[in-house]
Assembly symmetry: C2
Homo-oligomer: 354 residues x 2
Amino acid sequence: MNRYWSRVAQQLTPYVPGEQPQIDGLVKLNTNENPYPPSPRALEAIRQATNETLRRYPDPDANVFKAAVARFHGVQADQVFVGNSSDEVLAHVFIGLLKHDLPLLFPDVTYSFYPVYCGLYGIDYRTVPLADDLSLRVQDYGQPNGGIIFPNPNAPTGRLLPLEDIEALLKANPDSVVVVDEAYVDFGGTSAVPLVAAHPNLLVVQTLSKARSLAGLRVGYAIGQPHLVEGLERVKSSFNSYPLDRLALAGATAAMEDTAYFDRTRQAVIASRVRLTARLEELGFEVLPSAANFVFARHPGHDGAALLQALRDRKVLVRHFKQPRIDQYLRITVGTDAECDALLGALRDIPPTR
Amino acid sequence: MNRYWSRVAQQLTPYVPGEQPQIDGLVKLNTNENPYPPSPRALEAIRQATNETLRRYPDPDANVFKAAVARFHGVQADQVFVGNSSDEVLAHVFIGLLKHDLPLLFPDVTYSFYPVYCGLYGIDYRTVPLADDLSLRVQDYGQPNGGIIFPNPNAPTGRLLPLEDIEALLKANPDSVVVVDEAYVDFGGTSAVPLVAAHPNLLVVQTLSKARSLAGLRVGYAIGQPHLVEGLERVKSSFNSYPLDRLALAGATAAMEDTAYFDRTRQAVIASRVRLTARLEELGFEVLPSAANFVFARHPGHDGAALLQALRDRKVLVRHFKQPRIDQYLRITVGTDAECDALLGALRDIPPTR
């Protein structure tokens, strides 16, 4: 609290990201990073762009990168909005497309940045409880609303909503923007991008941080009909003319183009998830069905917070959320098989406490 | 206008940056980029960081870079706030420190992004006219206000305000945050950073885009007492946890440390400005005294907008603002001497129109 802060700044409850500690030998399975390196073509493109042209501003419209995203998804470039991470894209979505008189709706268990954006921009919201099995029921979103947003697969549950349900939601809410946050969709989900053509109220958000192994480069995008993209461009151009630097543009463009590498690494992560899930279940864990690069699991013999700490004592970092309904779960990023084995070894070493 | 846009999105008047055209042989003096390349140490640091660690999120607190900024300026790291360009830093400053019941004050002729931020965040503002010679008079800022912001040197005039005047402004407005936007200070101004220790209401904003030749990397920062930085961190952590990517952090840190290169190139720009100013005056231009890497000049025989076009026809790009009081001026970035000579040659080729 400070007399120089605006009321907004005083009332904020900021988002707390997962830790990025520097500890030797740490098995880091807490922030859903990809265990595989970025595409070699992306790294080469960055090296090529590391030259005297960095003295020049980047393209404010990111046209080359937008074209690459459009080609990958089979859409037009004017259906693509880009930003400095999907978090920045989401921030612009909240103020530009989701701030209305009626409340925004999102699940009670979901990406914990959503209520933070609402606090920043003064957006009224209601949370809609997930079902007992932590699945999302679209029929619960029938109330009047100024927008709907959810990740698919959902975070931190990993549960996937079928496209038919998304289509039903779009049809039932023709006056609201429905935002599908597909940060994790490449690990087993089906993207809603093909629904964009028929639905003027659909916006799909993706990131290069997960399946494209570029969390360190900060690039995300949204796909929707041009009228939604135009609204976002208005916000972006009132905030920061050049959110994507020249290196991010170069690396992200090459990463979108290297589809073979993308497919190979995401399939490897999926295979490791299947294996990790089976091993966790052998250890007595209940593991929610996941279409993401993480699993959400609990164990009848362990308290969630205590297990987090016991793993940390063994140099294995996972994530735990102190939130009703999910405080007995751990969210575990799918690492390489070797990293998953380190986790499993540590778990076998921890005696049940109940 | 669109029914899915928020009222904010509908009412925005976005900022329009200077063009970034791709034209062969263009002499580009329109966006105040540095004619010299970035520090070789910055480029090498980026190359070193271009590796598999890009799969990991960057440090959300940018501690290594903050420490480099703090060392350069002789302040503590908790007095440094960083962001994806000084434009992003300014956006957070507007919502976090300048949004109050009383109106924000800034000059009538200044960086044209300021009223855009006010539109985005619903901030009431008043403009304070510059004097007839386009200088800023601190005594005109005596009215009740919720904050004061101006660039020093001012943009697009290039005029410098002495530190004594800034100190007087700080003392006369103890309840308001006074933001000094020092994007261009390294080309002949004196930074207000040494005043931070004594003034809890002072925030100084700088960028690596100008004197450090890194417009393409998008890095800026603010320096103020820790309580102001904390307010900004609250906003940043409610918007985007990791605004600076790993490559930007690496390059920006090395650029701050290469003080010898920084001094050499900014002195070269200053020498070119002195030379350009003299030559323009020989051609009959009235050139405002500039402490920036641009000059603001008008000619009794030329209309501003017509001269912009005539220069463009000769492949020389400068900037013109369609705004009362300054629509007869051109803002000309100081390039290399060769680029300045190309501009001067084109000017000699254009016949006066009145």
